[in-house]
Amino acid sequence: MLETNRYHRQILFAPIGENGQEKLNQSHVLIVGAGALGSSSAEALARAGVGHLTLIDRDYVEESNLQRQQLFSEKDMKQKTPKAIAAKQRLSEVNSHVRIDAIVGDAEIDLLRQIAPEADLIIDATDNFDTRLLLNDIAQKYQKPWIYGAVVASYGVTFTVLPDKTPCLQCLQEYIPANGATCDSVGIIQPVVQRVVSQQVTEALKLLTGNEAALSGRLISFDLWKNEHTEIEVDALRKADCPSCSEKRSYPNLAYDSRLKSAVLCGRNTVQLRPQRKQTDLDEVAKELQKNKQIKLFQNPYLLSFEVDSFRIVLFQDGRALVHGTMDQLEAKNVYHRYLG
């Protein structure tokens, strides 16, 4: 049953009303990434009464996140809590009626294939275009809207991709920066996160409550520091022969061989490795590592972290490892094999 008092102000808002509120309650939104954009989107959607949220994130909370990732606290940072878990804990306090599925791991093909068909829409809160292209093809395949959002410095950009209606990200592929260099060597201010999220969440509310006619339909960007705001009609960029959204589609971004075994994390001096083996018994690994007295260990139910030489290695239950202290994938692999076999 709906708690009408809780959503009173939102129900008073005519385009939503009681019907819209009930639709929100019945909705399932997949949020990919629980960093700055993901935290903020998730909180807004949980407060709005979206009945079911799924959050996927591969990272854990660190001190430098606290400036802009609104769901996390110093306690999460000290405990190195995975972001998806910390987000779920906070969101459950905000709105205990929302079902929240938290997944600590990569947004990879098999996982998205399971979740996407049941979701009503996907919110992009990732920090890289490899994952976005994957989301794009998943969304096309299962005919789900997805809402691109990205931020850097005081600049943000967002676009709602509708299957069979708008261009998809693959149509716009030539505009994707080659090296992803826009990442975060230039930093970011927090209000730009809120600005992108306010656009993404509003578009999501329109879609979920059956108000498609109110959608923006435009590529939107702004620079809060330079006082710029830009909107472009990009329908003309939809490609008749797009491999992801045209009749001749083959979903190139769902090809398994395009999956990355290792990846340099955005501006973090960190490499993620994803070895073949899957589930890892962290206690077992910890016991092994403790034989080496040089190694300083930290463990919580989700991950194992240890420092050695100039590196810090974080091992997750799903077998992934983050090697902090290098951007060299080969060096990261060497360190990994030296200590984790």
Binding site: A36, A150, E174, P177, S221, I232, C266
Partner: protein
């Protein structure tokens, strides 16, 4: 010549004749840009053919990756 770029007025040098010249003037040549000139979206090969005139409106968007 004065034009509007992303909603703000911009005075450009006389030798900036077309969109390509504007991109160079703004030092944006390294980025892939989505450009609208007087509400007409341009393909990259059209940047040199799109002649700028006083009062023109140009919107420039680039993709970024951070989240």
């Amino acid at each position: 010549m004065k034009i509007m770029v992303n909603g703000n007025g911009l005075e450009v040098r006389e030798d900036v004749k077309h969109i390509k010249g504007l991109i160079d003037f703004l030092e944006l040549e390294d980025k892939p840009l989505i450009i609208e000139h007087n509400q007409q979206i341009l393909q990259k090969e059209e940047h040199e053919k799109a002649i700028l005139e006083n009062g023109d409106k140009v919107e420039i968007v680039h993709f970024v990756g951070g989240g």
